[in-house]
């Protein structure tokens, strides 16, 4: 049964508990960072930061509106990155959960192709191992019947984990309630991803890649990447 995570950004206070919890569980090392005039830290996703709470400020009249977006892999139902991969077994999708997993074989894959195929600009590369890195939905925890670390860490109850069908029902019900106060509220690409975000305003105000570039996550770029991936695989196998 596929799983899903509901991220209700109307409850998010940007405490970054999910970000820190993720980094702790993965035992990722600290990274140098920069102060860029925002509370967002580090400035972007990286090989040792696969979960990042993005901050975005907007001045509307006299009111400053502050938007928070806990960004990470959406675990697409039909992942374009998997289609774009030219390494057999590099990117796999766990049948039990639907989680999209990057294995150590991704070290042989091309970052720009994989990243370019992702409609949410998620994949990064470990500079030491060359392995491609992103959120794995805490597959190790899920297999041990534990909540993903971000869900467990969320102090505000903004995240829920469960069966996809149940999570979709929960998300729809919450959307209906939120829409009474925020008519522009929506669920982002809910039919195409396992990380289902509820935002109260236009998605672009949260983050450039909050929604997929096109209605379907299969962008022209990823479509082309998918079409040519068998050829690339063949070429790689011939090269050894």
């Amino acid at each position: 049964m596929p799983k899903a995570i509901f991220i209700d950004t109307t409850h998010c206070t940007a405490c970054r508990g999910c970000q820190v919890g993720c980094k702790e569980w993965k035992n990722y090392p600290p990274v140098p960072t920069k102060q860029l005039g925002t509370h967002q830290n580090p400035p972007d996703l990286g090989p040792y930061n696969v979960k990042l709470v993005r901050f975005s400020e907007h001045l509307e009249g006299d009111t400053v509106r502050w938007y928070f977006f806990p960004d990470c892999c959406r675990h697409c139902v039909d992942p374009p990155c998997k289609g774009a991969s030219s390494v057999e077994g590099g990117i796999i999708q766990d049948a039990a959960t639907g989680a999209v997993i990057y294995t150590e074989l991704t070290a042989k894959d091309d970052l720009e192709t994989i990243r370019g195929a992702c409609p949410y600009d998620i994949p990064r590369q470990d500079p030491k191992t060359k392995r491609l890195i992103k959120c794995d939905m805490c597959i190790d925890r899920i297999q041990a019947n534990l909540l993903p670390m971000c869900v467990k860490s969320c102090a505000m109850g903004a995240m829920s984990f469960g069966e996809r069908a149940d999570i979709l029902k929960q998300a729809e019900a919450r959307l209906e309630a939120v829409k009474k106060e925020f008519p522009k509220a929506s669920l982002l690409n809910k039919d195409e991803v396992a990380m289902i975000y509820l935002v109260a305003d236009e998605p672009a105000k949260y983050y450039k890649f909050a929604v997929a570039e096109a209605p379907s996550p299969m962008t022209r770029k990823s479509l082309l990447a998918g079409v040519f991936s068998p050829l690339r695989r063949m070429a790689k196998s011939m090269q050894g």
């Binding site: 409850h11 899920i142 019947n145 534990l146 909540l147 993903p148 102090a155 505000m156 919450r174 309630a177």
Partner: protein, 300 residues
């Protein structure tokens, strides 16, 4: 009183999923899980089909209830003896397969029930601990079988009765429906849509050993004696399974198994969870603590 269908297939799925996971995670318990698992599943099927409380429920005086008078204090569960022959036809073969050592006695018991030597009323009485004797069947076996046969009907009636007192204050460590002692506690995270920080620990629910009703209770306190002194309250656990523990009290020397669902993706069935905690139970007993109430497999 209308009888809503409270037992859903989801509860059955939870038992089967929990059993399957437990067998994978704890191969040493495969025999135990293989023996009690089919019994739990069959009991759940019977519970789903059971009639529940028939007719108007007992009148609940909110003031008396708040003072600790449980729902069935003045009466008892409704007679379910008419359903026991049908339940026996389903459950006894399962029990005979699961517990081969008891198979001869179970066969004698089934024959006694078929021939009328053991009436359904007497069987129901045995299920509630009344002294009943059947030649060729030990008192212990009769009590075990009879209580397993009556339990689905008791649990189903209790589901209806618990709905009568939902939301009413209850601060006792005994069951608000039947007054039974708890044999298990469960920490559950309750989702709410408030704008405030939410507790990660979850609320503590005690679970009745007789009718499986759950009710909330103080988180840090001994249900046996009410002790709240941290130095007297002991937690026994296996570091490999931190969500399972035995909460023991040095003051009254009792213990209660506890399943902490706060971090779990899917809450296991509490009976299956109690089965997987049999080693913790044994550890608590070795350290001189006694359970507040037992499971059928306690002490094995």
């Amino acid at each position: 009183m209308p009888t809503p269908a409270l037992e859903t297939p989801a509860a059955l799925r939870a038992i089967e999923t929990s059993l399957s996971r437990a067998m994978t995670e704890m191969p040493a318990l495969v025999l135990l899980l293989g023996a009690f698992g089919p019994l739990l599943v069959e009991r759940a099927w019977l519970r789903e089909a059971a009639p529940g409380w028939i007719g108007p429920g007992p009148v609940v005086d909110a003031d008396r209830f708040a003072q600790g008078v449980f729902v069935l204090a003045d009466s008892g569960f409704q007679d379910m003896s008419g359903h026991l022959p049908g339940a026996a036809a389903r459950l006894l073969p399962v029990m005979a397969r699961s517990f081969p050592a008891l198979e001869p006695e179970i066969t004698v018991l089934a024959a006694a029930l078929d021939s009328g030597a053991l009436s359904p009323e007497a069987l129901a009485a045995a299920g509630f601990g009344e002294p009943v004797s059947v030649p060729g069947v030990s008192a212990q076996t009769l009590n075990f079988v009879a209580s397993e046969l009556t339990r689905p009907f008791v649990e189903r009636q209790a589901q209806d009765l618990a709905a009568l007192v939902k939301g009413l204050p209850w601060q006792q460590a005994s069951c608000p429906v039947c007054g039974g002692a708890p044999n298990m506690s469960v920490m559950r995270r309750i989702r709410d849509e408030s704008e405030f920080i939410q507790a990660h620990g979850g609320r503590r629910f005690l679970r009745c050993s007789s009718c499986s009703t759950e009710w909330t209770h103080k988180r840090v306190s001994c249900p046996g004696c009410g002790c709240e002194e941290p130095e007297d309250l002991l937690v026994l656990r296996d570091p490999a399974r931190p969500y399972e523990r035995a909460d023991a009290c040095k003051r009254c020397k009792s213990f209660l198994l506890c399943l902490d669902c706060g971090e779990l993706a899917e809450a296991p069935d509490p009976d299956v969870a109690a089965l997987t905690m049999i080693a913790l139970e044994a550890q608590a007993r070795r350290e001189g603590f006694t359970p507040l109430a037992e499971h059928p497999w306690s002490g094995l």
